[in-house]
Symmetry: C2
Subunit: 311 residues, 2 copies
């Protein structure tokens, strides 16, 4: 068995507009990298973090990567194993693209690979959720499950955890734009009302069922019609500059559907091909530039693999 | 073109436990029959209703069958067409099995057939919803859509109306038991809270998405795991004698899932075959008998056709 490994884990789009807390998919870029080595020492050490502007803790009990790796080591009965971690952030923090999830998943995939794949990627999900709890105050799975499993994922139930891989149209692409404004996940969650009208919930689960049906039927029209959110988006969109203008631009440029990625501020469109996705990111960036907001953009197929070994 | 027709339209199970107002399926029995004739006269006449214990109005403006046929005639520009209707109720009224829906659908299918199928069955749904509005005070589609289209149906959206036919496992059967207690649909709806916790709604739409996925994947386990309802069932089950005991009996006897049909008091189980369905109805009837409640029972495949011409 090898002693050292370099792993990439992908960014993810949680909620997919109507599926708050239950749907998510992974993309091929951006994502984070972890270099992990087994050491002669005792316990986990974080030797380096790059690309985080000093935002992330090096203390292994506070860092989500090392904390979830520690949970994994406890689980397999090797709590004191010597592990060195380098975390290379290659994506923005607090972007709504599952940044903490990408790091955590890279770390868990790395340790599991180094130790001979004792667990499947799906079995790693609960460990990654522990990391999310540390990062966001809430152990949700709609980023970590797609980051680990690739593709589109449904979290049918949290207690007990029940995760279903969904099919999707082969050519589907995502156009992602991150406007560089600050929306901390915790605050974004707290803005959401804790009670909703039953009739609005019915509208929402009709759309969730429609989106899932559209994915199985590879019916882009149905997928698009189902991508509406009357419960969460009206609140979260307030924090995103010109959200509804961005939607209009994306839909006019040929998007299948458009919405907020996770808790934002990133927005995303689903498209039928790469060209349309590229056109959309260009137009969205242009508009944001015109209101003096810098942005990053990413175009990708839906990721089909989850994390991968780079080296 | 013929001048007279006899039509059967099927009973339906709305909600399917987790899909309140958005899911439903049709069964082969019970159901209602309509005999319809074009006449030389002007307007709609209801000449006979049987099997209703005198509960249904003969007045064509108040009867759901004639009222929705009238909507259809207005729509096609023949508002004064002479039509005679006989309605033969072959299923209990107020049972939660879509009794008004079966009658209405039979009537609409009959007039549409007599006039050369000007509309598809799916296009008849809005006219049938007018009948439901008259019968239940609320124009829902989760009975009329499956009664018209057969099979499993998702109402993704009410405004605009968007109805999707879902696949299902070929051998799936329903075991239905109607305990003869009174639960008017209007009252059953009014018992339901108008506001719900967002976290409960999330649980519910996870299950709706799981049920839809299970139907596409023909995965009975997933279908069964998804058939839980934390929002509506806890209230509606109060009106059904020994509901949770009935569930335990059905699940022990091999049900895939169990719940309330529509607004009750009928209960149903999904099963993998007819034998299990028969065993379940027998045991449920036995238990109800032991607490002095008479019941009717029905076993059927999922209906694959919707309404049919008998004669």
């Amino acid at each position: 068995m090898r002693n050292s490994i370099k792993v990439f884990a992908p960014a993810t789009v949680a909620n997919v507009v109507c599926g708050y807390d239950v749907l998510g998919f992974a993309v091929n870029q951006p994502g984070d990298e972890v270099i992990m080595s087994l050491t002669e020492g005792k316990g986990i050490n974080i030797s380096k973090i790059t690309g985080d502007d000093g935002k992330l803790p090096l203390n292994p009990t506070k860092n989500t990567v090392s904390a979830s790796v520690q949970h994994y080591l406890n689980h397999i009965g090797k709590p004191d194993l010597g592990v060195d971690i380098e975390l290379h952030k290659k994506m923005p923090i607090g972007s709504g693209l599952g940044s903490s999830s990408a790091s955590t998943v890279a770390g868990l995939f790395a340790i599991n690979s180094l130790l001979g794949n004792l667990l499947t990627n799906k079995e790693l999900v609960p460990f990654a959720m522990k990391g999310e709890e540390l990062a966001c105050g809430y152990g949700h799975a709609d980023n970590v499950a797609p980051a680990l499993m690739g593709g589109f994922v449904l979290i049918r139930s949290y207690q007990p955890l029940d995760i279903i891989s969904l099919p999707f149209p082969e050519d589907m692409h995502a156009a992602i734009v991150y406007p560089e404004v600050d929306v901390p996940t915790k605050d974004a969650r707290q803005m959401i009302r804790s009670k909703v009208l039953l009739k609005d919930a019915v509208t929402q689960w009709g759309n969730v069922a429609g989106l899932v049906s559209g994915l199985f039927m590879k019916d882009y029209d149905l997928i698009g019609r189902s991508m509406t959110d009357i419960l969460v988006e009206p609140t979260r969109s307030i924090l995103i500059p010109d959200f509804y203008k961005l939607r209009t631009i994306a839909m006019k440029a040929g998007a299948v559907g458009f919405g907020i990625s996770g808790s934002g501020p990133s927005v995303f469109a689903l498209t039928k091909d790469a060209d349309t996705a590229n056109k959309i990111t260009e137009k969205l960036k242009q508009h944001l530039q015109s209101i003096s907001i810098n942005s990053l953009s990413f175009v990708s197929e839906v990721n089909k693999k989850g994390p991968i070994i780079l080296d």
